[in-house]
Symmetry: D2
Subunit: 341 residues, 4 copies
């Protein structure tokens, strides 16, 4: 850590800072500049206590960490790209490999018919993973909260019929075992991205975890939330960008596609893009998928509904079955251009 | 709801919209403007399905709700100010009444000595409620996560010794009963403000709930999260502003003091201000407390530590025991100016 | 416009609203809902006074516009895509046509050698337009402010030598004629995006204008700023996304690539992407260019410097001459996939 | 500056960094940590070139400045509080002294009658400075752009009749002399807060300048924009917070009252609060004024209109004459509590 001292402080005040740095196990190193004295505190910042409390001292101007705080998710920890293998029957779906995987399905599971129609259709168009919410986090307590375990059973049936793997949201620690009993991938939603107890519960099921970025989560916070998964002995983590909250109101969120190269640079875990939540408008989904694929995304998560206008949640952002098939067709040249399959 | 149609659409497309509006139980009402046709959908928006899915239709330009979605927390539902009474021994502490209550104490409970020293000191300075975290949500899995139930026992001891009521954070559904067994008020932290399962679990304990605003939560979302408490039959809700996330980096968060008059206007529930989290810097806490009190806050939540520089979490934002006593003294004329006690 | 009245207001208060609506030239249309009365005000919102002042009335809950406020830049005004033709010698460069144009060059013009070296190199790699700042808006008055007219002369020389068109920033009304005397395209920077006097001065030169999006500019505000150009009789406008300011600090700005399909949908004007400002880090530029091209951008604006580490401004975001040549090569398959040249 | 090197780089790469640091006039100082090597670059950062370009080097992880970049506006440069004296006839109005000054008046000057009515009324209620826009920056080219010099003449007449000082917005370099001929204080609006040419032109008139914070301006950027005024030999600068742009849509902007203690801490210049722009809603103005005064604001800037519902601009945020008189009465106990007049 770097501790910047205020100008013109007494020798005694400076000594107190050095003493505190030593007490916390770092070795202080003083540099006298023209306008400021700067103290380097030498030691591993991830295993020692933080020095940021020094910022509360009157003689200290600022404290700056020099190390990144994430370890297991970092590219330094694992030079190659991690891949996640999901077995469905005799098939293996690999996320993070050469093939760009597409996860598609309705925002909410509404009925067996709705789900199976969608599943067969997205499978035919080339999707390999079926998404569908059985437990829905809703802004208002008066909105549809999902079909619960009944919805999970429908997802299991769809997997059996189609061979698609299943991804669905986990939103309560108490459901972790139950949801893991049906799903191939557990999704942690944006609103729970720093619900650390839920992250730990998800990790402990052993199932692959897709961690959405929180609405106002900085990259480092997102990586550290992912660290909760790996530190709980589950190495099957993928990050999913779904848009951040900004001042813009034209779109529901601002999809931050720069996360694709950034996650690739900082971490070995796969990166998935969710353009449906990102835009909140189905008319922007196609362009965003093209951009995501061109920039190197490992997978896409797309909301598809047989009749978006009658969806029980988030209708405006779901594409139709036909729209999805067309989208898959249009993506092909971009997938090829990116050297993927 | 108001449905704005695109210009120059066919009669058939318009009819389809009207039919859908009727199907969802609203009565359509067409207004032909100069450039746009607008359809009013008449019916109670809180009990009918939303029409927002219509925005997915190609012939629709936009859909705008006209009603607010929160009910029980709204000022319309309860004209007077709600008050929350907390009994400690033979005393009753009222939040939302004439007296501005001060909740003070360390960010984390670290030891019995640290907690009791602080408790006696803040009590002497005029605080009536003791804060202290036993379970801590931390950005990194490698940071101190709180003393757990051991910390709760220390809080209970401090209450017994001082007569202060206890507020502490709940961060897992699975702890709800345990934490409620020790605490007088359950705090829901900013990162869990839309962890709806936790909100429901907190509500069901019957204990008063202090709901912090999420880092990027709009006023309406915050009120709706509060609605989860009241809709689960717990009327003892208070809102707590603790700063939102913006582009500014000088302060850790941007404390939005306009929430004081806004919550007073929209809701009957008390509003609490947390300047410690808001600024993340103890040197701004005094000014923010003055502003909060002048604007009509019902209570303050202030982090106080015997030795902030050695705090196990968030040292930079905690004030000293002496600093707190001085602050309480300085607030007096502003409390009087606001017609409070 | 739609005017939502508060519940339970008197007949007299309602009548006053209707009277005011009529006075401003609209025709009121009352809809009585279950919980709210809503008044539609029928008339062209772009030629009548706004009714938003009604929101100040105690009996009014909210006022919502139903029309968009931009006209000349809108897709409704001009169904096809506008193109901008720039003549350099006997060549014509078309922005907004089939060919994706690349504008490249240093952040600041520093010397003839620096500029000419860059110009020849980017031309060889396929760029058609040379960028370079002669007048630089700098956060601090103590930073390098640009070479001024001397820099413009160097740009003119580079055009003569290479046949590249010139784009450079205009940041003072008083320089409009002078800068237009040297440049083929006038760039309006993000900090001046709502400096309306500068927009008018730029428009009046008759030169094509590239309008960057302001750091916290909503899409509608950006389109309306563009409207200032067209309304001042200059139809050669292109929009340029260069990243918006958000809470994220990993990148300097958050590049909002969704602007590509949004501008294409709302406007007929070309859309340019500036990934250098967007990321503020040269290591993310390649991925962002791929994304921009895949999503349909008409042009790219890229900072290139022979020796970024010694640049007089914004070194961290400039790519090297070799990096640029490699980037142009890597973009080819994506340009082809997008059906462009 | 502090330069953090990447782990495991070659000796040669490290030497290149040290050489570059020396070349730019700093003295390098190497600290070898456990995981990272850090180089302190010793020298005055405000007079040497920035080292931030080093961040573009592959062997460099990050570059962190240790000095603040503003000088003349800083509290270090001038320990006491600066005051600004404005003479109107035989009176002197001091901003930044013991008396909290109130600047009040309409958003736009609309007519002599509107202005004089307002001026007499706000004077009677205790205001000492009259605000009113003659040149208006408007989001759309089709909105009312102000009366121009005709409006300035009306302001001059109001000053003569009432003895109020005049503050009005300057939005074009070309108007600087003209506007300075009528006004006592030049206002630089939020959209022009980084229009550096305008700042220089304003400074050179010698008139006091009120610099509004830009919509997404960081504190340091704001202070540096103020530095442009002082560096151009005009020491009569006051900062004005008017709300920043955030994700919240309930209010037009988020008024950041923490700027009051922050500006007081970092700078010697007065701080003014504009609650009208800050909230965009007149019903929140009273509470915000109370908060601002309690926190130590030197002046308030309040929009007042005889008939807000018929205002030609921003009606929703202007208070009535009666509302203003009542507000001034309600502020008295808070001004007294703050030890001001």
């Amino acid at each position: 850590m770097i501790v910047v001292l205020k100008p013109n402080i007494s020798k005694k005040d400076e000594m107190a800072v050095l003493k505190e740095i030593k007490k916390l196990g770092y070795k202080p190193h003083v540099m006298r500049g023209v306008e400021r004295t700067v103290v380097g505190a030498i030691g591993d910042e991830r295993t020692h206590s933080t020095l940021e409390t020094l910022a509360a001292w009157p003689q200290v101007e600022s404290v700056m960490p020099v190390q990144k705080r994430f370890k297991l998710v970092s590219r330094e920890a694992h030079k190659g790209n991690s891949t996640i293998s999901i077995k469905v029957g005799s098939n293996t779906i690999v996320v993070g490999g050469k093939k760009v995987q597409v996860m598609a399905g309705p925002c909410s599971v509404e009925s067996e018919k709705q789900l199976l129609t969608t599943a067969h259709s997205v499978k035919a168009a080339g999707a390999t993973i079926l998404r569908g919410g059985a437990f829905k986090p809703r802004t208002s307590p008066y909105e549809f909260q999902g079909l619960g375990e009944k919805g999970l059973k429908m997802l299991a049936k769809a997997r059996k019929e189609t061979g698609l793997a299943i991804i669905t949201e986990l939103l309560s620690e108490e459901h972790a075992e139950m949801v893991a009993g049906y799903a191939d991938i557990l999704q942690i939603g944006a609103r729970n991205a720093q619900n650390f107890q839920l992250l730990i519960a998800a990790a402990k099921t052993g199932k692959p975890v897709l961690l959405k970025r929180g609405l106002s989560m900085k990259i480092e916070e997102w990586l550290l939330a992912g660290e909760y998964i790996l530190a709980n002995e589950n190495s099957n983590l993928m990050f999913c960008e779904r848009g951040i909250r900004t001042f813009e109101t034209y779109t529901r969120n601002t999809l931050d596609l720069s996360t694709v190269p950034i996650i690739k640079k900082e971490s070995h875990c796969p990166i998935v893009i969710d353009p449906s939540q990102g835009a909140g408008r189905s008319d922007l989904v196609v362009a965003m998928c093209k951009g995501a694929v061109a920039m190197g995304a490992d997978a896409l998560l797309i909301e598809v509904h047989p009749n978006p206008a009658e969806a029980w949640s988030d209708g405006a952002q779901q594409v139709t079955l036909e729209g999805f098939a067309k989208l898959m067709e249009e993506l092909k040249p971009f997938i090829a251009a990116a050297g993927r399959e």
